[in-house]
């Protein structure tokens, strides 16, 4: 510090510091710079009065404007909700199967459904809706209970195997052929062979020929004479390439002996109808959605009737 001296070149005194021979001239600061400092101090005081600033023991000072970051977020959420409300109202009055007629609305519904899916559905069906063993893949073209928009909406609303919660819930139960001794172990092996010939996993042989007989007597009533399943009962198509509980001999044997039952909550009581419609649109959009046919007949006609009543009842 003691090395203050007059710089030869400029005639200005140095501040006395030296770093590797580099020295600093003690030039005066411009006066307006000082004003800028005072203005900043003033600004800080005003800010401290207006906004939350001082941390105290349990919480900070609140500021006279009453601003909070949570309040701001809430305001932005409300504004976003308000901006969405028009679209949501449109979706509310539109029967779900007619959504594709309005591509803009369908797009909005798919986006909304995607968000709702992330919150409510990924736990079982996975983030990409690809499911896993026992949890159906929603991207493919294989549907247990129907893959048109209205069938999907019905399934989401009423759930699967929830008789105690929703009496309109899908319900079916495959007999436990092994556990309850309905078939012998040999018969089960035969029918497994037969079932695995349907999608071509095994070549037909003596066992599968015997199994065909067993199948016709015990299984065809639900899975159909050709094994293509029955959606009214949620009986899977056994002739396709997709196996919800696995297609190996061991897996199929286990499924026949101790049938697994997938369950899904009835979301009708948990989510509002608009969200369910949006979820339906999203699931339908994943690549395997089927077209809605006006009078599909059979049990699915009941679903449509139910859905139509619900749609009409909405404001």
């Amino acid at each position: 510090m003691g090395n203050k001296h007059i710089d030869q070149a400029t005639g200005v005194e140095t501040v006395g510091h030296e770093w590797d021979g580099i020295e600093e001239l003690n030039n005066p600061l411009p006066r307006w710079w000082l004003w800028a400092l005072y203005a900043s101090i003033l600004w800080a005081i005003v800010y401290v009065v207006l906004y939350p600033a001082w941390p105290l023991v349990s919480k900070g000072t609140e500021g006279v404007l009453g601003w909070t970051s949570r309040g701001q977020l809430q305001g932005e959420m409300d504004a976003a909700q308000k901006a969405r409300s028009g679209v949501l109202a449109k979706i509310a009055v539109m029967p779900v199967e007619r959504l594709p007629e309005d591509p803009q609305l369908m797009k909005a519904a798919i986006a909304g459904g995607k968000a709702a899916f992330r919150v409510n559905c990924v736990q079982c069906h996975g983030a990409g809706a690809a499911g896993s063993k026992g949890y159906p893949n929603l991207n493919d073209d294989d549907w247990l209970w129907g893959g048109d928009l209205r069938a999907i909406e019905y399934t989401i609303t009423h759930g699967i195997r929830q008789p105690d919660v929703d009496d309109k819930s899908h319900f079916s139960q495959m007999p436990a052929f092994g556990k309850d001794g309905l078939l012998t172990s040999a018969q089960i092996q035969d029918v497994v062979s037969y079932v695995r010939t349907l999608p071509g996993l095994e070549k037909p042989g003596a066992a599968s020929a015997r199994g065909a007989q067993v199948f016709a007597e015990n299984c065809a009533v639900c899975h159909g004479p050709d094994g293509k399943g029955l959606r009214e009962l949620g009986a899977p198509n056994l002739a396709d390439a997709i196996w919800l509980f696995g297609g190996s001999r061991e897996d199929v044997t286990r499924s026949v002996s101790y049938p697994p039952f997938g369950v899904m909550p009835a979301w009708g009581g948990r989510l509002d109808p608009v969200t369910i419609k949006m979820l339906s649109a999203y699931v339908h959009s994943l690549g395997g959605g089927e077209d809605f046919l006006a009078s599909p007949g059979g049990a699915s006609a009941d679903f449509s009737a139910d859905s139509a009543v619900k749609a009409d009842a909405q404001p």
Partner: protein, 502 residues
């Protein structure tokens, strides 16, 4: 007071780099703060003043008029010649349209601007500071207004010292409202680059423009008013980093405004010179060089950061030398190297010869290379593009008939200002077919035809299905324009199948 000869012995560039403006501060009682000394530059005529007028006319003309130029781009694109369309992420400049993914053109322009500053500094010193920096140009405008309203240097000084009264208040009010109008025009012109100028102009005065437009105009009006009207040389001396960078870039070959002290010193009046020929130098100490300086610097103290090298002092000194019949160029552009030669008795080298030295030529080479490369890239760029993002969750989908489906988000880019028919086709995936969100699998085929709207990216969700047993592999999606202009682009894509993850 430090005597000028001592000053002149300062060793050029090395000193300017680290020196702040020289003050007549007595070292023992250096004040902490210093009041701004107002600068009242005197009007001057001369060739450099003329050059400044010209450059001011060109730069301000470009700034204020460019947004109003029209350029026909057909019905699907704006007709403003220069437009930064932030909302639609487009940058239009006459016949060139730049998309966000082509931003390297803008980056290239900025790099060229940077190297251009190096080039200019290397060739002609701080010419940017002296002639074309917006701070210099607007300060110059405001100083002309000062002279127009208050009169020349002396009248301005008198008015400054005069006590505040109705006359002074009226005069100041009048002058500052002219400042404000110019500032408003300046701030107002800026926003016109970002939207259709005639529309925005009408909306702005009708109170219908976006709040951000008013805020921008407000901020720029305020900065123009304060920085150009009042801060002036304080911006160059204290705020701007560029003078510091430039002083570091100047070397002994750089043209700087130089007071030729070996010719001017010791100073003496014309009478003294007549009485005592040979005893005094050419400088008659008329202080005209100081009087015309827009930053209030006395060039006779040697090169300094405060000198923006606008060369008005050269004009002033040349005029005086002409009147008293001495050769011009007592103050002149010169390099340190040439100064040494001149001191030794050589004639000054012509300026144009000083401009071309190795460093300048290297900068010029780099600058031109970037420019040429960009021109080439501009000429060769494709106006059609395909980009593909594969769905990774799930990576593939087994369908009930055993075939495998992969999903992709395909973006077709049409960068022309008209709708274009395009065809996407698969190659390298035998038996594969594709379909999109808005059609069924029934109509799947190996090609898709789509009309992509003008000047847009068309995102399509595409499903590609391959027969059972297909292995995971790479294949190619190709987009081809079906119109006369043609053009195509390909994208290599991964197809995933069961068993890949083995």
């Amino acid at each position: 007071m430090i005597s000028p000869p001592a000053k002149a012995e300062r060793s050029g560039a090395a000193t300017i780099a680290c020196s702040a403006p020289v003050r007549d501060a007595s070292p023992s009682a250096a004040p902490l703060y210093e009041k701004r000394e107002p600068v009242f530059p005197k009007a001057v005529r001369g060739k450099f003043r003329l050059l400044k007028w010209l450059i001011m006319a060109v730069t301000l003309g470009i700034y204020y008029l460019t947004p109003w130029l029209r350029w026909d781009r057909g019905p699907y694109a704006p007709d403003q010649a220069v437009l930064v369309d932030l909302a639609h992420r487009r940058f239009y400049m006459f016949g060139i349209e730049i998309w966000p993914h082509e931003f390297y053109f803008v980056a290239g322009l900025l790099i060229m601007a940077g190297i251009g500053l190096f080039l200019v500094t290397s060739a002609v010193g701080r010419a940017w500071c002296g002639y074309s920096c917006p701070q210099t140009v607007w300060t110059d405008v405001f100083q002309h207004i000062d002279r127009l309203v208050d009169g020349d240097r002396n009248a301005q000084m008198r008015l400054q010292k005069a006590p505040w009264g109705p006359a002074k208040i009226a005069r100041r009010g009048f002058k500052w409202s002219i400042y404000l109008v110019i500032s408003l025009l300046t701030g107002g012109a800026w926003i016109l680059y970002f939207a259709d100028a005639p529309t925005l102009f009408r909306e702005f005065w009708a109170g219908e423009a976006a709040p951000v437009a008013y805020a921008t105009v407000g901020v720029l009006t305020a900065t123009t008013f304060v920085l150009g009207g009042f801060m002036r040389e304080q911006v160059c001396v204290y705020m701007c980093p560029w003078p510091r960078i430039q002083t570091a870039m100047l070397d002994e070959k750089s043209l700087i405004v130089t007071y030729k002290d070996w010719r001017g010193e010791p100073r003496g009046s014309v009478k003294q010179a007549e009485k005592n020929p040979g005893a005094v130098g050419d400088c008659i100490d008329c202080n005209q060089c100081f009087a015309v300086c827009p930053t209030g610097y006395d060039i006779r103290n040697g090169p300094d950061i405060q000198c923006i090298t606008c060369a008005l002092c050269i004009d002033a000194c040349d005029n005086v030398m002409e009147q008293i019949g001495r050769p011009r160029g007592l103050i002149d552009y010169a390099t340190l190297e040439d100064t040494e030669r001149e001191k030794a008795g050589a004639a000054p080298t012509p300026h144009w010869k000083l401009i071309f030295h190795l460093r300048t030529l290297i900068y010029l080479g780099i600058w031109s290379a970037i420019g040429l490369a960009m021109l080439f890239a501009l000429g060769a760029r494709q106006r059609i593009d395909i980009s593909v993002a594969k769905d990774r969750n799930p990576p593939y989908m087994l369908l009930s008939d055993g075939s495998v489906r992969n999903a992709y988000t395909v973006k077709l880019l049409n960068m022309e200002s008209r709708p274009r028919p395009m065809e996407v086709s698969i190659s390298g995936l035998p038996g594969a077919a594709m379909w999109t969100d808005d059609m069924g699998r029934e109509s799947a085929s190996r090609t898709l035809k789509r009309t992509v709207p003008a000047d847009q990216a068309d995102p399509v969700r595409v499903y590609v299905v391959a027969p059972s047993g297909t292995d995971g592999r790479e294949f190619t999606l190709t987009v081809r324009a079906l119109d006369d202009e043609g053009g195509s682009d390909t994208h290599a894509v991964r197809f995933d199948a069961p068993g890949d993850e083995g």
